[in-house]
């Protein structure tokens, strides 16, 4: 996107540019904040590294001792992974909130993440390979299959007439309980090593990040973002009601299918590599909506950036709350997220039918 300001712009163009300028400034500010948090994330750890040293390692290839290796191979991919996962969840939440027209929908609150978690656990503990793909992919594909199943289920449920928005959320919560219980059964029968990996999933942690995992997350994120962003105007129309969107020429069923597929994929990938991360997919779009409204040309990128920002912030918090201990990041996002969740319920549920 480019918004050129010509010397002889029309009054109409000026009006529009003024409207858009604020939003672009917001995106830029958040991006800079995010870059700062990322540097901070690399700096903080079991041993802290000076910011000057980080910049010199990253941009000039200098530095000596262990630090360059720690920065390049451990902390940088982890910091980037926090961003990537945050952005994935932000976009997933933005998409699902749009198609359900429901501000408390998110992959986590609807049980999509829990289902992905269960799928992954099945691959890990029962060595289930449901779709006979290669072993390395099995866990991811299982997770995706279950998240898609739940997303489609939620969608079908929401399509019935006279279903209130609250009912959809309660249905999601029921699914959440169901898949958590199923995952617990697997935990119960797991041996000690397997249990260790499972715990990692239920808490959500960035510590197992590798460059390869990051690239997969990033590639999926980029593709999904591109697919959804192409339909930005159609999605904007879908924030209104269905008849309205149809009267504007939007094939609502097709857009919904696309969003469900993409959201499930994003949730599944996030769960596979860092486990269940709650509330980011809920809060990020909420904040973005307050800031720029639902014009998806801005709403969607801002949801991604906000999600990335929250995750990076939570990652910083997870390392400084107890000195020398890195708390699982999923616990931090839950602690940050629950007050938000409650506030949204109080402010939005009253107006929802």
């Amino acid at each position: 996107m480019e918004y050129q300001i010509r010397s002889k712009e029309s009054a109409n163009r000026r009006l529009y540019n003024n409207l858009v300028k604020k939003r672009i400034v917001l995106l830029v500010v958040l991006f800079i904040g995010l870059a700062f948090l990322t540097i901070l994330n690399i700096s903080i750890g079991s041993s802290s590294i000076a910011i000057r040293e980080i910049l010199s390692v990253l941009f000039t290839g200098g530095g000596d001792g262990h630090n360059p290796m720690i920065i390049r191979e451990i902390r940088l991919p982890m910091a980037l992974m926090a961003m990537g996962i945050g952005a994935s969840l932000g976009i997933g939440g933005c998409g699902i909130q749009t198609i359900l027209r429901n501000p408390i929908a998110s992959p986590f609150t609807l049980g999509i993440s829990a289902a992905a978690s269960f799928g992954a656990a099945m691959g890990l503990i029962l060595n289930a390979n449901l779709f006979h793909v290669s072993d390395t992919l099995a866990v991811t594909v299982n997770a995706f299959a279950f998240s898609l199943l739940v997303a489609v289920g939620i969608y079908m449920f929401s399509r019935q007439s006279n279903i209130s928005k609250t009912a959809i959320i309660l249905f999601g919560i029921a699914l959440n309980f169901l898949f958590n219980a199923l995952t617990m059964i697997l935990q119960y029968i797991a041996d000690e090593d397997e249990l260790q990996s499972l715990i990692f999933w239920t808490f959500g942690s960035l510590l197992k990040t590798t460059w390869n995992k990051f690239f997969i997350v990033f590639a999926v994120l980029a593709v999904c973002f591109f697919i959804l962003f192409k339909d930005a105007w159609k999605l904007t129309a879908m924030t209104l009601d269905d008849t309205k969107a149809k009267s504007l020429g939007v094939d609502t069923a097709k857009v919904r299918r696309k969003v469900i597929f993409v959201t499930s994929l994003l949730s599944a990938v996030a769960v596979c590599f860092v486990g269940t991360i709650g509330f980011v997919g809920l809060i990020a779009p909420h904040i973005a909506r307050q800031l720029v409204g639902e014009d998806q040309r801005f709403f969607m990128p801002l949801s991604a950036l906000t999600g990335a920002f929250i995750m990076s912030f939570a990652f910083v918090a997870s390392k400084v709350i107890i000195k020398g201990v890195i708390l699982p990041i999923g616990l931090i996002t839950a602690i940050i997220g629950i007050p938000f969740f409650v506030t949204i319920i109080f402010s939005k549920m009253r107006t929802m039918q």
Partner: protein
């Protein structure tokens, strides 16, 4: 212009179906058409069927082309439609809301053409000053005008409006009808409007179609041909006086309902 041939349609319900049209035939004229009829006559349903939101049996034809057989893309290019019930709350600004009306060809970067059409339309509805406001902050009438603008910016050949004057004050009702008439005269656009206000219809419509409460065609023609005490009694169940002003426009003053209460 639009002809509706042998239209059959029912709303599916849990117990059986609710029949709306059973072999409806209607011909609309070029220019300013108004559909009149009591509540439940199927006026809104007819507009939905024409726009292609319903699965019906029968054939709807525009000129020589069958709208029924058209794909969505062509249909969207041909017409725009203003639903009766509309969105109340949205986080969009007025400008964005109206730009959405340009959707089929809308790019991520808004072209000068898009912007100019949108702002000109807002200007013609006297709401250009609201462009940067949040939609949710507007009054009911202003919201209605925003959606009317959204319907107009697509520059369709045929515009379907379902009770567009609802929630507009008297002055804005007249202004809207004058604007619609101007669009019909200057741009050669055909419009079909559902109205409840018979006097408003009498003043502005070129062609009126009356439907009765069974969802059947009752009569059609110029306002002075259609708006008669007999029609008002048989279709609306109302005793009313109909007088004509100096231009020959009929004026209805209702007296009482035929039904005993």
């Amino acid at each position: 212009m639009i002809t509706v041939n042998n239209l059959h349609f029912s709303y599916k319900k849990s117990k059986g179906a609710h029949k709306v049209f059973d072999g409806l035939n209607i011909a609309f004229a070029r220019g300013f058409n108004v559909i009149l009829g009591p509540n439940g006559a199927g006026k809104s349903t007819l507009l939905k069927a024409i726009f292609g939101l319903l699965h019906y049996d029968g054939n709807i034809v525009y000129g020589q082309e069958s709208i029924t057989a058209m794909d969505t893309e062509d249909r969207i290019k041909l017409m725009s439609y203003l639903p009766q019930m509309d969105v109340e709350i949205s986080t969009l600004t007025v400008l964005e809301m109206v730009i959405l009306g340009r959707l089929p060809e809308l790019g991520h970067k808004i072209s000068d053409e898009d912007l100019d059409i949108v702002m000109d339309t807002l200007e013609s509805l006297n709401i250009a000053a609201l462009a940067a406001r949040n939609f949710s902050e507007l009054s009911g009438g202003q919201k209605k005008l925003v959606f009317i603008a959204q319907t107009l910016v697509r520059k369709p050949k045929l515009i379907l409006l379902d009770e567009p004057v609802n929630s507009l004050d008297l002055q804005k009702q007249l202004e809207l009808c004058q604007l619609l008439q101007k669009i019909v005269d200057k741009q050669g656009v055909d419009i079909i409007v559902v109205l409840h206000d018979i006097n408003l219809a009498a003043r502005y419509a070129g062609h009126i179609v009356v439907m009765d409460e069974k969802g059947s065609f009752y009569s059609a023609g110029r306002p002075d041909e259609v708006i008669t005490p007999r029609m008002l009694k048989e279709v609306y169940g109302v005793i009313a006086n109909v007088t004509c002003d100096e231009k020959g426009t009929p004026m209805v003053s209702p007296v009482c309902s035929v039904r005993r209460v």
